[in-house]
Structure formats: C-alpha cells, structure tokens
Symmetry: C2
Subunit: 240 residues, 2 copies
Amino acid sequence: MQQPFVPLVRKLEQLQALTAAQREVLQKLPVTVRELAPGDHVVHEGDKPKLVCMVVAGVTYRYTIVGSGKRQIMAFYIPGDIPDLSSLFIEQMDHSVAALVPSTIAAIPHGAMRRLFEQDPLLGEMFWRETLIDAAIIRRWLASVGRRTASACLAHIICEFVTRMRAAGLSDGVTCDFPMTQTDLGDAAGLSTVHVNRTLRDLRDRGLVTWGPRSVTIHDWAGLAALGEFDPSYLQLPRR
Amino acid sequence: MQQPFVPLVRKLEQLQALTAAQREVLQKLPVTVRELAPGDHVVHEGDKPKLVCMVVAGVTYRYTIVGSGKRQIMAFYIPGDIPDLSSLFIEQMDHSVAALVPSTIAAIPHGAMRRLFEQDPLLGEMFWRETLIDAAIIRRWLASVGRRTASACLAHIICEFVTRMRAAGLSDGVTCDFPMTQTDLGDAAGLSTVHVNRTLRDLRDRGLVTWGPRSVTIHDWAGLAALGEFDPSYLQLPRR
DNA sequence: CGACATTTTGAGTCAGCTCAATCAGTGTGG
DNA sequence: CCACACTGATTGAGCTGACTCAAAATGTCG
C-alpha cells in the first residue's frame, strides 16, 4: 500500500523543500491506517480525540447540524490534509468529520505530534500554517455564502476543489474526480438541492462545465473563475 | 496609558496561568502603539505586513469586498485579539482589517513574535490555539449564514459578541457596548440593512433585547441563546 | 431484477431583497 | 442658537432568488 505520508510531504514541500531529516521524522510517526466507507465518521461533534487523522486517499468533509436539522458542510479534505489537527489544542470537537467516498486515513497520536513539534519547531510552524490556510478557505466560503449568488458560490467551490486536487497531483486541472452529490453541494453552499440542480444546469448550459459520473470537466476555466470570482492566491500554492 | 498587554495576558490566562517569566517576556515585546479613528485600516487586502497588530482598546473587524461591491464582515475583534496573527505565516493578506470605533492597537514586529516562539514554544502553542479559536468562530458564522434564519443568525452574533466582551471584562453579560451599525450587522450576517432593521425590531418585540446608543441590553439571555442556538463552548472560555 | 440513492422537473410560496422616502441624532460653521 | 450636512434607523411597497412539496426519471449496485 502507498506510504501514508506521500500526500502530506508533497503538500508541505510546496512551500519549501523538507530536509532529509524532516522527511524521515515525519515518516517515522506512528500511524494507524484505517479504511472508511462513505458516511463513516473520522470524529463526531463532542468527541475528545487523542489522535489526529490525515487523509491518505479519498475525500472527507467537515460539517455541523444546526437546530432545524439542516447540515452545513464547512470544508472538503483531500489527501495530505489533516482535518482535525485543531484537536491538538482544542480538546472537544465542535463539528464532525466524515468520509464522502471510500477513503483511507492515517491516525497519529497527539503525543507523537507534540513531540514532533518539540523536536522540530519549523515543522510545527508548517503545520500551523496549514491550519491558517484552512481558515482562509473557510473565510472564502463565508464570503461566498453570505454575499455571492448561487451560481458564483458553486462556481467558486468547483474552482477551489479542482485547484486543490490539481496541486495534490490528483487532477490535470480540466477533468477531476468530483464526488460530491448535489445535496452535498447545497449543504456546502447554503442552498437547497433543487436550486443546486438548476444552478448546475445553468453552468452547463453556459458551456462552463460538464458532469460525468462523480467527476467534472471544466471547459472554460476563465469563464468559471470569473463567475465564481476565484483567485487562488489564498490557497498559498506555488505559482506554476 | 494602559499597559498594552493587559487584555492579551488576561485572555491567555483563561486557559492556564502564565509563569512570571512568560508574562515578562510578553511585556518586553517591542510595541508601537497607534490610535485609529473609525474606518482607519489596520491592514489592507493585498498588503504584506511585517508586523502583527493586537487590539488594546476598541473594536476592529475583518472584511472583504466581493465583486459586486458587497462587503462580507468575517469577524469582530476586541481587546486582547490579534486579528492578523496569520500574517506571520501567510505573507499576503487576503482580507482587510479596519477599526469600527476609535481604537488603540499595538504593533509588534514579526521578528519579535518569531523569537518569542523560539524562546518559549509553549507560548507559541497558546497563540496557535488562539488562531484555531478564531477559525472555530468563523465556522460558526458560516453555519449561521448558510443554514439559519435571519433572526437566529443575528441572535447568535449578539450572544457571541457579548459573551466574548464579558470574558474580556468589558461587559457584565447583560448590558454591553455594541458599536456595530445595522449595516455592519447585515454585512456580517449576509443580510440587507433593511432586513436587519426589521429582524432586530422583532427581537425587541419579543422582549429579548433592547438597544441603547451603541449598546445592547439582553433581557432574556436564555431566549436569545435558544433562538440563536448559541452554545459558547466553541469559544473555549473557562466555565464560570 | 429490485431497492435505494441521486438527479431532474413542475408548481406554488416566501424570506429576504431593492428602491425610495422619511425620521432622528450628532456635529459644524456662522 | 439655528441652519445645514451627514450618518444611521425606520418604514412602505413591490419584486425575486431561492425554498418547499411532490413526483418522475435515471442511475447504481448487490
């Protein structure tokens, strides 16, 4: 099976190359690999995890349920991401993380992560930076949900996901696995499933994207990015 | 004038007492104190700051402007908060921070912060934790804006602000300075000013809150919290 | 093939929007 | 002390983007 740290190392190295020692320290972290079926939870709201979970393969998402029973998805996580890194410093989960598709995750004990940061504070700062990028993504979503139209919001979500998948080496930037259902997209964008359906049809009718089985193809990147006001700089990816 | 670090030390000590050494190291950080008028900027989107700015007095807010010219406010910051701590690890600002009312901020050079974290990694982790709480707040806003009604969203914002002000020793939990205009609240909640006005009137008519000049009084905390589905645990305040 | 999940469409409704005034509070200059 | 300017709160009226309910069509998978 794939070395679990490959996606993470790849991501961290986008900022700056790791030393051989750093790479080795990472790869020696004690991990427990786990396979998840769609809908299986990584953590539940209210849990007090003693591990952090890194996505190795698949897609997971962060969500919460509000009083009326509605769900708000707050992020999608792809290989290399650590959705619950915050549990290292915030004891109790204030949201849940679950798998969207069959996924592989690697659990690392909190203690091992803490020792890693003591041993190599620069690695600690790199992880801190990752949590800041995660926050920047959420702020973009907030701006989209609060102040953009349904079509702009969905266009932004599509552009962002494909860009991140591309950076992870999982898309060529044109066609991309896209496993979210229309219900998922609605819960991410604060829209009803019906309205997502009509809005996506509109994107298709405008010649921006087409849909395959659990995948998208972007036919007019400039048009889609303009519609979604998507500027990837907040993702802190290397210009390519 | 007030020691600039008093609000920050107070906030950090809510988790655990600082050692005398830690308190001293903090208070020896080189700061430049600056007074801001309402609307003055701490940083602009696109800037590459070389300082971080701590709120000493007043209120600042984080916002971005979307393509249509609409503004989305993404956080309010009160004394003790460091709105742009992320600039330490993310070079370019992807949003702006400005003063809502006459405010005092203290600027600390990035280099001094970095040395602080080297010198005392535990302090570094405390600051990391603060950025994670900031992210948790944004996620709550996302859930509110995406999936709650206008009245619930505004009730949540009010409860959260008063709770944080209380924790900072700036409110008794009943009456609180509340300097946001209805336009500001709309830009925070993703609503129009007109609708904010009607929704706030509704909260008043239900006997939940009354409004003074730049202040609120909460008459029925349980009712307001229930309406806004407000559970303060995500703020990581000590139970009192 | 059957059961279930997902997408699609139609039709009617409504929360929240825009436009347009009006009213109230505050500060400023004369 | 008053007129004026300006900001912010309030109200009315009509509109619309997005919602809900309901059902049909299309996958998908054991």
